[in-house]
């Protein structure tokens, strides 16, 4: 690891002051003064020499470790609450079971005890080329090229790609948050603002080194969940190379609001397919009013995947995504798996 200096923030305001000098960086991932909490991804990337901050500001002592009710009937998850404490919280389990399930599908028990909710959103892709400083990567070294495009791309994206980057976002939690329409609360020098989760992560385009819309001089303080948690008919399903402790090849957070056998509202967020959790609101809207049957869900999967494109090693993901979507909707609707 390269050398760096270390300091501690004793309030959100002092943390914002500590990172004020980052303002020229295009987003938080590119900041030279980095906030650190769980450290599970940042320190690993520093060991790999992929991230080279000159200073770390330890924010683990800030009072952002609680879950609170919001005026709108939802929950506000503290940014520094651990993933484990969040997933096992009784309110989260009862009202947002797919979020709890998604968090517990990610990482290991040790990592979930360290990793925080804010940090989970900011974790970076596990693309092999991003991690390997001996290879080109437009995310790590803008303009150097993409090693994955014509390299080993089995784990890579099938939707929303650009010729500059085909990396996928690794988070499970963020996929469930996308399906729930959560909001990320952040504080910067100008005060607080709210970023809808769908606008928090971004597609690579021609600037794949920019992961999020979180500015380099802002800190995440919490994540707000709306009142609607789809507790009765929702699930998180993750397909991966081993039974546990592996990143998703394909994952799906699905939620249904049913009126008898008719779909009133449907949500689907996919993980492992793109540079951000993938939603297709037109395909979701087309499910409204349809019967909650396999045929409806198959049609929905076809619509979501109509523009999916495979590369040399990951074309299997398109069929796998179709199966995962169908199975997840069957589970959420209470149908027997086909």
């Amino acid at each position: 690891m390269r050398s760096f200096s270390y300091g501690r923030a004793d309030s959100v305001q002092s943390a914002v002051k500590d990172i004020a000098g980052n303002q020229a960086a295009p987003d938080a991932a590119n900041a030279t003064v980095k906030l650190v909490a769980g450290g599970t991804n940042l320190l690993d990337l520093m060991k790999a020499d992929v991230m080279r901050p000159v200073r770390l500001v330890d924010i683990t002592r800030l009072p952002l470790k609680t879950i609170e009710e919001t005026a709108e009937g939802g929950l506000r998850l503290g940014a520094l609450m651990t993933n484990a404490d969040t997933a096992y919280d009784e309110r989260v389990q009862a009202r947002y079971p797919m979020l709890s399930k998604a968090i517990l599908a990610g990482a290991s028990a040790q990592l979930r005890n360290m990793a925080t909710n804010g940090g989970n959103l900011l974790q970076r892709t596990r693309c092999y080329y991003f991690y390997d400083t001996a290879t080109p990567c437009n995310k790590r070294e803008p303009g150097s090229g993409c090693g994955a495009l014509h390299g080993v791309n089995r784990i890579h994206a099938i939707l929303g790609v650009s010729e500059h980057c085909i990396a996928v976002h690794p988070s499970d939690m963020a996929v469930a948050l996308a399906a729930l329409d959560a909001t990320v609360r952040v504080t910067g020098p100008g005060g607080e603002r709210a970023i809808p989760i769908g606008e928090f992560h971004r597609l690579p385009g021609d600037t794949p080194h920019i992961d999020t819309t979180l500015r380099a001089d802002e800190i995440i303080t919490g994540i707000e969940l709306p009142a609607q948690g789809f507790a009765a008919h929702s699930t998180y399903l993750k397909a991966r190379d081993r039974a546990s402790y592996a990143f998703a090849l394909i994952s799906a957070a699905v939620a249904l609001e049913l009126d008898g056998g008719t779909i009133r509202e449907a949500r689907l967020a996919l993980g492992g397919v793109a540079h951000k959790p993938w939603r297709d609101r037109a395909a979701e809207a087309a499910l409204a009013g349809q019967p909650a049957t396999r045929d409806s869900f198959r049609a929905m999967a076809d619509a979501v995947l109509r523009d999916a494109k495979g590369y040399e090693h990951n074309s299997f993901k398109i069929d796998l995504a179709r199966s995962v979507i169908l199975r997840a909707f069957e589970e959420a609707a209470g149908l027997e798996p086909s």
């Binding site: 650190v36 690993d44 290991s108 990592l111």
Partner: protein, 169 residues
């Protein structure tokens, strides 16, 4: 302290004085901020029970308990653990009395080469206090952060199940 790396290597100019509580003993060290908790235990405190496997949070060999919760010590900076109670495999026994998890690992021959064992045992002790594992499947899922290259998994699960089913401490 005997001859440790702290005595042998000249201090970088920007070391920090850090006080850690490890296995109930308070220790003050001068450490560079980038020193991980794992390296601190092994190189500065001579507590070599905690193992370095992958050093990337993928194998679990470095698992220790911080305030009773299991974490990967390779992915944590020592300076961030000031004021916390750190327990390593050396701190589990009470004098000559092994922790029930240590006894169960011996009874079930839950290791071959033994390199992953301190991490497996610390992780299993953390698992017990979390109270979420109710079945062998739960144990397998919640112990997935600890890799055993010798493949002693069936015996590891059996050892943990025995302690889960018996007296917890």
């Amino acid at each position: 302290m005997p001859d440790t790396i702290t005595d042998r290597v000249p201090h970088a100019p920007d070391t920090l004085a850090i006080t850690l509580t490890v296995n109930g003993v308070e220790r003050t060290l001068n450490l560079a901020p980038w020193t991980t908790l794992l390296d601190t235990l092994r190189l500065h405190l001579d507590l070599t029970g905690t193992k370095k496997g992958c050093d990337h949070g993928q194998c679990g060999a470095c698992t220790v308990l911080v305030d009773g919760k299991r974490i990967n010590s390779c992915l944590s900076l020592a300076v961030m653990q000031e004021g916390k109670e750190i327990t390593t495999v050396e701190g589990l026994a009470r004098g000559e009395q092994l922790h029930p998890m240590q006894e169960a690992f011996i009874e079930h021959d839950a290791f071959q080469c033994g390199y992953c064992t301190p991490g497996q045992i610390c992780s299993a002790v953390g698992l017990l206090s979390e109270g979420k594992a109710k079945s062998a499947d739960d144990v397998r899922e919640l112990m997935s952060g600890n890799i055993c290259r010798c493949g002693a998994y069936p015996n590891i699960v059996a050892a943990i199940e025995q302690v889960l089913g018996g007296d917890r401490r």
